[in-house]
Symmetry: C2
Subunit: 410 residues, 2 copies
C-alpha cells in the first residue's frame, strides 16, 4: 500500500489565487512521489472574518446554527478551488465537504467536537485511483444533519482526525510559521525551533497561547497516536514533529516558554467561607460555556475568603455578571475584573523529576521586580499570572534562564 | 391548514445587509398574516461572479463539479443570513441547503435539472411550528451526492419546484422589476405591466430574453400548475401573475415584444445537399451542450445549400469550431459567425386564431428599412433576426403597432 499523507493548509497558505497554485504544486509533488494524499484546507485568510462580519451585521449574536452555515462556506470554497488548481496541473482531485465524508460532530455549534469520520469513504476514494481528496476543514455535521464548525483553528483538528480515521502515515500541518519554537521569536531573539516535541508538552504550549496548533488537534493526535509535522508552506525546511513521548525527552528540563495575553482575572472579595460556594459560582459559569483556567482561594483570619479566577478575555463581561450576582446572593464584596494581565508558562517533560523549576521561575521574575499575582502548576508546567506590561521581559528572562541556547538539561 | 406561500428573493433583493433586513421584514409580515412561509434566496448580487472569478483565476475551464461547489456557497451564505435576520426580528427560521432537503438533480453540473424534491421534509418542518424555512436556491445534489447548480436564474426554478413539491398556494418571485412588461420599458416608453400572462406566453417571452424568470421555472410552473406572482421587493404593488391559460387571454392578439441580443449567427455556405448532413452538424453541437435556436436552410439552384443557425453568443467559438470541421469534412465553404444580431419576437395567445400577425411584423419592419435576416414562427410567436443596431427601433415600432396602449385585440 502506498504511504498516506494528510496535509493541512491554513488560511494564509490558501490566501490568494497564487498561493492556492503553490499549494497545488506541493500537493501534486507529494502525489507524484508515490503517496496517497488528502489535503485539508482552511478558508482563505480573512474570509471567515468577512463572513462573520456579515452575520454580525444582522445580529449582535447571530443564531449559532446559521452562523455555522455561513462560515462553513469559506472552507467549501477553498477546497473546491484547490481541486480546480490540481486539475489545472493535470492531477485528478475531488473536494469533500463535512457532510459528504460524514465528519460527525456533537451539537455544539461554533465549537463542535468531532465524534466520528467515515474514513472508509476517503480510503475507498483514494484507492479507486481518482487522485487527491481535498477536504474542507473546520466543518462537520451534527446528528440532525446540520452543518457545525469546530472553532478557530478547527481545520487542524479536521486534519488530525482525518489522519486518524484513515490511519495515515503522517499529518503535515502547513502554516505561516515554520515550526514550534521554544518561545515567541518576535519578543525573544534567542528562541529556537524545536525538532521534536511530545504531545503533552505541545498540549501545554497550545493551551497556553502558542497558537501553532489547535489544542483539540493535539488531543486527537495523542489519543490516536497520529504523527504530526508542523511546517511552513513557504519553504521546504523540516518543521517540528509532534510525536509520542520518547525516552530522551525527559532529559530536557524546559522545552518552551509560552504566554497568553488573552485572559482576564475576576476577583470576589470577602466571600463567606462555606461549603458549596465554589459550585454555586462555577456551575453557572460552566453552563455558559466559559472555560475557567486558574482558580485561587485564600482564607483570611475572619473566616471569609478572597476568590480569584481567570477566564478568556472575551468572556469577561458574562463571567463578571454571574460573579456579581452570586456575590450579592451570598453577601460577599463586589466582584471586579482585571484584563491587563498575562499568563506566562514554562513547559517541559523534564520537570516531572525535578522540583526546582518553579523556584527558578519565581526567583528569575523576582530579580526583575515582576510581581506574581497567581500561580498554577502541573506535572510538566509552571504558570504565573503577571501584570501585562512585563510580558516581554518575563518571557525573555525565563527563556534565557531555563531554555537558553541548548535548553537546560537535567 | 394555513396557506403556504413560497417567496423567492433574487440577488439584488438580498444584495446587502440592509436589503436582507428588508426581506426579513417582508417574510416576517407574511408569516404574521397567518401563512406558512418558505423563502428561497439567491446569492447576494455580485457574489456568484466573484466566486466564478476565483475559479477562473485558477483555470480557464474550471472542473464543472468543483465550480458548482464554489458557486453554491453563495446561496448557502444568503440563506443563513436571512435566517439570522429573521431570528433577530423574533421570527423562528431555519436554513436548508440543497442536500438537506434532497433537491435531487441530474448530473449536468452548471445547468442541472431538478428531478425530485423531498417536499415532506419541508412540510414536516413547517407543520412542526419551527417557523420559516429558508431554502438556498440554485443548488441541488446529483445521485452521487455531489453539489450541482441549476444555471443562471436557477433560484426561480428552485422556488417553483419547491412550491410544486409542497403544493404551495402561490410562488412569489421577488425581483428588481415590478412585473412582466409588454416590452422592455428602458427602450420603449409605452411599455405596460401585464396583470396576467399564461405559462405559454411567458415561456416564449422568457426564452426570448425577457429575463424576468428562468425558462425552466416556467416549464415547472406549467407542468405542476404552480401559480407564480412576479413582483418587486422594493414596493408593495401587485406584479404580474403567471397562471394557467384563461379563456379571455386569446382576446389579446399580442401580449409582448421581446428581444435577445445574446445570440450569434453561424453560416455555412455551399453545403452539398445530401441527407444526413444536418445530423452530422447538429449532433456534435448538441453533445457539447450548445442549444441551437433557429435553423434556416436554402437550397440553391446548383444543388448546394446555405445553412444558417443561431446559438447563445457565449457558445459561438465552440459552435464555429465544430461547424468549420464539419464544413471541411463535407467539402462545403468556410463557416463564419456573426455576433452583431438581435432576435426580436412578438408573442400572444391570440395569434393562434389569426394569421395576419407575421405579415404585420414584416410590413412594420420593412417600413423602417429594417432587413429581416431570419424568420421563425410558432403557434403563438413570430421571431425575426435583424441587425443589432436596429434593436430599439424595431422593438418600439412593433410594440406601438401590435401592442399599443391597450393591446391589439382580435
Amino acid at each position: 500500500m502506498r504511504p498516506l499523507v494528510v496535509q493541512k493548509y491554513g488560511g494564509t497558505s490558501v490566501g490568494s489565487i497564487e498561493r492556492i497554485q503553490e499549494v497545488a504544486r506541493r500537493v501534486a509533488r507529494t502525489a507524484s512521489e508515490g503517496n496517497r494524499v488528502i489535503a485539508v484546507v482552511s478558508a482563505m485568510s480573512g474570509e471567515t472574518d468577512r463572513l462573520l462580519g456579515l452575520a454580525r451585521g444582522l445580529s449582535p449574536r447571530p443564531t449559532a446554527r446559521e452562523s455555522d452555515v455561513v462560515v462553513a462556506s469559506g472552507e467549501q470554497v477553498s477546497a473546491a478551488l484547490l481541486s480546480i488548481a490540481l486539475h489545472e496541473r493535470g492531477v485528478k482531485a475531488c473536494s469533500f465537504l463535512g457532510h459528504q465524508i460524514r465528519i460527525h460532530t456533537d451539537d455544539a455549534h461554533g465549537r463542535a467536537r468531532i465524534t466520528a469520520i467515515d474514513g472508509d469513504r476517503l480510503c475507498g476514494f483514494l484507492d479507486g485511483g481518482d487522485g487527491v481528496a481535498v477536504v474542507a476543514g473546520f466543518q462537520g455535521v451534527n446528528p440532525a444533519g446540520d452543518i457545525t464548525t469546530l472553532g478557530r483553528g478547527g481545520s487542524d483538528t479536521t486534519a488530525v482526525a482525518v489522519a486518524a480515521a484513515t490511519s495515515a502515515d503522517v499529518c503535515e500541518i502547513y502554516t505561516d510559521v515554520d515550526g514550534v519554537y521554544t518561545t515567541d521569536p518576535r519578543i525573544c531573539p534567542s528562541a529556537r525551533k524545536l525538532e521534536r516535541i511530545s504531545y503533552d508538552e505541545m498540549l501545554e504550549l497550545a493551551s497556553l497561547g502558542a497558537k501553532v496548533l489547535q489544542i483539540r488537534s493535539v488531543e486527537f493526535a495523542k489519543r490516536y497516536g497520529v504523527r504530526v509535522h508542523v511546517r511552513t508552506s513557504f519553504a521546504e525546511d523540516e518543521g517540528t514533529w509532534v510525536v509520542p513521548e520518547e525516552s530522551t525527552m525527559e532529559d530536557v528540563l524546559v522545552s518552551g516558554v509560552a504566554y497568553d495575553r488573552d485572559q482576564a482575572k475576576i476577583t470576589l472579595t470577602r466571600v463567606p467561607d462555606r461549603p458549596g460556594l465554589a459550585a454555586r459560582l462555577f456551575s453557572p459559569i460552566a453552563q455558559q460555556g466559559i472555560v475557567v483556567d486558574m482558580i485561587i482561594q485564600n482564607v483570611g483570619l475572619d473566616g471569609s475568603t478572597d476568590l480569584t479566577f481567570t477566564v478568556p478575555r472575551a468572556d469577561t463581561d458574562k463571567a463578571l455578571e454571574i460573579a456579581s450576582e452570586v456575590s450579592r446572593e451570598v453577601g460577599a464584596g463586589a466582584a471586579r475584573s482585571e484584563g491587563d494581565i498575562t499568563k506566562v508558562s514554562v513547559v517541559g517533560l523534564g520537570m516531572r523529576n525535578h522540583a526546582g523549576v518553579a523556584a527558578q521561575v519565581f526567583e528569575t521574575l523576582g530579580r526583575e521586580g515582576i510581581n506574581i499575582q497567581m500561580i498554577s502548576t502541573s506535572e510538566i508546567k509552571v504558570s504565573v499570572v503577571i501584570d501585562a506590561k512585563y510580558t516581554e521581559l518575563a518571557v525573555r528572562v525565563l527563556h534565557d534562564k531555563l531554555v537558553g541556547d541548548g535548553g537546560a538539561t537535567t
